[in-house]
Symmetry: C2
Subunit: 178 residues, 2 copies
DNA sequence: CGCAATAATGAGTCATTACTCGACTTGTGT
DNA sequence: ACACAAGTCGAGTAATGACTCATTATTGCG
C-alpha cells in the first residue's frame, strides 16, 4: 500500500466515477463485462480507466474492496440473522461482490477486506451465541461458508422472496441447534 | 428432440470423445475454456466439434444434460444426507455441473434433466421425512436451493473436507428441526 | 499569468475465440 | 468393388476485448 502524492482534483473525480460505473456495469453483466462499457458509463475515455487501474483485475479488486468494506460496515446495523437476510437479498443486485467474494474467474487477494468482514461477522456470531440464539458449537468458518453459499445460490438460482425465506429458515434452524 | 438417421460409427466415437474431453476441460478451466482446447484434448479437429455441437452453448447443454442425468442416477444409491455429502464433495471436480446448474454466464434450458434430478431428490426427501430424519415442514424447493448453494459455495470457496463437514452439519441440523 | 507536471483522450495493436467452408477421407449399402 | 452420402479436416474470417502511446488538455503553484 504505497501512497504516492495526492491525486489532482479531476483525477479524484474520475476515479470515483469509474468505480461507481464499474459497480453498476459489473452488477448488471457480471465480471465478463468489458472495460470499455465501464468507461462509457463513467463518461471517460478507455485510457483513463487504464491509467487508474492498470489491469482489469485491479479494477475488480478495488471495487471488491469497497463492497466488502461496505458489507462489514453494514454488519454493525444488524443481528446475525438480519445480516444474512440483508446480504442474501442484495446478492443479486451486487452480483460482483458475490462472484468475487468467491473468486470466480478472476483471482484476487484481498486479505484485509475479507478479514474485516470476518471480524464483523464474528462479533455478530458471538452476540447471537451469548443471547442463546445460536448453538455454541457453531464456529465462524462455517458461518462464512454458509453466507457465501447462500449468496451464490440466490444469485445464480434466482430465488424469489419466498424461497429465500424458506431456505434461510432451514439454515437458521441449523444454527440454533448446532 | 428430433432424431435423424443413426450416426455413423466414427461419428458416434467422436461425439463421445468430445463430450469426455469437454467434461475434463470445463472441469479444469470452467466454462470460459475455449472450444479449441476441447478439440485438442479430444483429438479431433475444431470443425468436428462444431459439426456435432453447432454452438458452444449446445456443447455445454449436452454436457450438462449428461451430468444431471448422472446425478439423478446416483441419487438412487444414497439417502438424502449422503447425497448432499457426495454431491458437494464432487462439486469442485465437476465445476461445470455446478456453474451451469446455476446458469452462470451461459443460459440454457434443460427442463427435463433438471426435472428428473428434482424427482430423485424428492424421493430421498420423502423417505427421510418418513424415517423422521427431516422435519415435515421442509419442502423440496428449499432442499434444491440448499444443494445448489452448498455446491456453489464449496466450488468457489475451496472448502476443505473439514469445513465441508461442519457446514453440512449445520444444514442437516436445520433439516432435522425444520 | 505561465509553466511544468499531471491527467485525459481515443485510434490503434495484438491476442483470443467462436464459428465457417471448401477440399478431402471414410463408412456403408448394394 | 463402387459410389455417394456422411463425416473430418484445419486454415481462414470476423468480432471482441485488454491494453498502449503519442497527442492534447487541465490543474495548481510561484
Amino acid at each position: 500500500m504505497v501512497e504516492g502524492p495526492p491525486l489532482r482534483a479531476d483525477a479524484q473525480r474520475n476515479r470515483a466515477r469509474i468505480l461507481d460505473a464499474a459497480e453498476a456495469v459489473f452488477a448488471e453483466f457480471g465480471a465478463r463485462a468489458s472495460t470499455e462499457e465501464v468507461a462509457r458509463r463513467a463518461g471517460v475515455a478507455i485510457g483513463t480507466v487504464f491509467r487508474h487501474f492498470p489491469t482489469k483485475e485491479e479494477l475488480l479488486a478495488a471495487l471488491m474492496k469497497r463492497l466488502l468494506a461496505q458489507l462489514a460496515e453494514e454488519a454493525g446495523r444488524h443481528d446475525l440473522f438480519g445480516f444474512f437476510r440483508h446480504t442474501v437479498a442484495q446478492a443479486a443486485a451486487k452480483k460482483t461482490a458475490v462472484e468475487l467474494l468467491a473468486g470466480s474467474g478472476v483471482d484476487i487477494r484481498l486479505p484485509d477486506a475479507v478479514g474485516h468482514l470476518e471480524e464483523a461477522v464474528g462479533r455478530l456470531l458471538a452476540r447471537a451465541q451469548a443471547a442463546g440464539a445460536v448453538a455454541d458449537s457453531v464456529r465462524l468458518p462455517e458461518v462464512m461458508a454458509l453466507l457465501a453459499g447462500m449468496c451464490q445460490g440466490a444469485l445464480h438460482g434466482g430465488w424469489d422472496e419466498h424461497l429465500q425465506a424458506r431456505t434461510l429458515a432451514v439454515v437458521f434452524a441449523g444454527f440454533e441447534r448446532g
